[in-house]
């Protein structure tokens, strides 16, 4: 049946009022940024969800990272209630310390290695259920509610950053649910950074508390942020930059 002229008119006027409303919406969004400073970024996140306005990342200054120090590892594992099951080979490891030595010069350096929160993350590509995903703000996570424990992501990860939980977990922290049969890795402490602007990932805080301040956390999208300035200043590198993953974790003076 052909639409009658009056139908068409209705459609047009409906479209008009829709456009009008859109206009209002535009006005509202134009006003919103003016209101933004009154309310902190984290509180906006907690209310409205994450957005791609931010991209969270870390910069590790390897010259400040002390050989033999594992404050970041302890801080991370405390925060998330990770403890040894007594079986070292299968213990979860969200962050680990790596010591490097240059074969030629003998120069030693030490650095923490964790999920690099890649922009084009191989773990996300291979996941059959979509459980391995990248949040709008660049944090790469496992949605444990849909993880089936197949471990493809672990094999795809060039940084060996993920762990599979083989044994039942007890005494979890209420803000860090963990359990048998799923894969986990560094979450960039989303439960902390979403909640409060003053809260940084546990590893960064522990490192600072220990007096090293080798881990800097911040917004890579904001060219004025401390982390962006430091990355530019030190020309901080990606590990395995040849893979073109555009990592969210950068290493200075590597």
């Amino acid at each position: 049946m052909k639409p009658t002229p009056s139908d068409q008119n209705k459609a047009v006027s409906a479209r008009r009022s829709f456009l009008q409303r859109l206009g209002l919406l535009g006005a509202a969004t134009a006003v919103a940024p003016a209101l933004l400073p009154a309310i902190s970024r984290a509180k906006v996140t907690a209310l409205k969800g994450v957005s791609d306005e931010q991209r969270w990342g870390l910069m590790i200054d390897t010259s400040k990272c002390a050989t033999g120090c594992d404050a970041c590892v302890r801080g991370c594992h405390d925060e998330h209630g990770i403890s040894s099951t007594g079986n070292e080979h299968t213990d979860a490891q969200w962050i680990r310390k790596i010591d490097l030595q240059d074969n030629l010069t003998g120069q030693e350096s030490s650095l923490p290695m964790m999920c690099q929160h890649c922009d084009s993350a191989p773990c996300v590509d291979v996941c059959p259920t979509g459980a391995s995903f990248k949040r709008a703000d660049g944090v790469v996570l496992v949605n444990k509610h849909t993880c089936i424990g197949c471990r493809y992501c672990m094999m795809a990860c060039p940084y060996k950053a993920r762990s599979f939980i083989h044994e039942p977990v007890t005494d979890q922290k209420s803000l860090a649910p963990r359990g048998q049969g799923t894969v986990e890795s560094c979450t960039l402490c989303v439960h902390r950074i979403d909640a409060d602007d003053d809260l940084q990932p546990a590893c960064a805080v522990s490192c600072t508390e220990e007096g090293h301040s080798a881990i800097l956390f911040g917004d890579l999208n904001d060219s004025e942020s401390d982390i962006s300035i430091a990355i530019a200043k030190h020309d901080a590198q990606q590990v395995r930059s040849d893979l073109n993953l555009n990592t969210g974790v950068r290493y200075a003076k590597l």
């Binding site: 006003v31 209101l35 509610h145």
Partner: protein, 180 residues
């Protein structure tokens, strides 16, 4: 003819008796014993919670995990905080244990949930005030000076009471009031 109608009468009587018996046996059967929750009221009407809690928390979990929204009322952490029971020694009992809140109805209707294989089934133990960690504590290997992540829950109380309308994703008045 008369035979047919009397048989119908008999059927009717039987049906009535059946209904009465069925009704009384239903009324007599003990339902689940549900431990009482803390506070005056649940995060929504109790009736509504009975029927819809599963949808509410599953919806919220996607909002939180995928979209980072953490200001919604249906947090599993908070269900546990309000609905957990204490034993004689004042210790929290796992909320998924037999007879406990989340297990009471579920055992009755044969529902099995795996949530508490990962999620803490008791509230976090109260950690001493971390404000001024002393040096001895800082050196401790277990890192017990670490800011307890539980404290984050307090942040919700510090949310602004009046959220600018343009920023509020809440759709109706009642929701906005709730965030106060």
């Amino acid at each position: 003819m008369s035979f047919g109608s009397s048989s119908r009468t008999v059927q009717g009587v039987l049906l009535l008796i059946g209904l009465i018996l069925g009704w009384s046996s239903m009324a007599g059967e003990p339902g689940p014993v549900i431990p009482k929750g803390k506070g005056e009221q649940c995060v929504a009407e109790t009736d509504f919670m009975r029927r819809n809690h599963m949808d509410l928390i599953v919806h919220q979990r996607d909002d939180t995990v995928i979209r980072g929204i953490r200001d919604e009322p249906f947090s599993l952490v908070e269900c546990v905080d309000c609905h957990v029971q204490l034993d004689e020694d004042n210790q929290a009992v796992r909320i998924d244990e037999e007879g406990q809140f989340c297990a009471s109805c579920h055992a009755y209707v044969a529902v099995k949930i795996d949530c508490f294989g990962c999620h803490a089934a008791v509230p976090d133990p109260v950690v001493p005030d971390p404000v001024v960690p002393d040096v001895a504590q800082q050196d401790s290997v277990d890192g017990s000076h670490w800011l307890p992540n539980k404290q984050l829950l307090a942040f919700k109380q510090t949310l602004p009471t009046a959220v600018p309308p343009a920023l509020s994703h809440h759709k109706n008045e009642a929701d906005t009031v709730r965030s106060e």
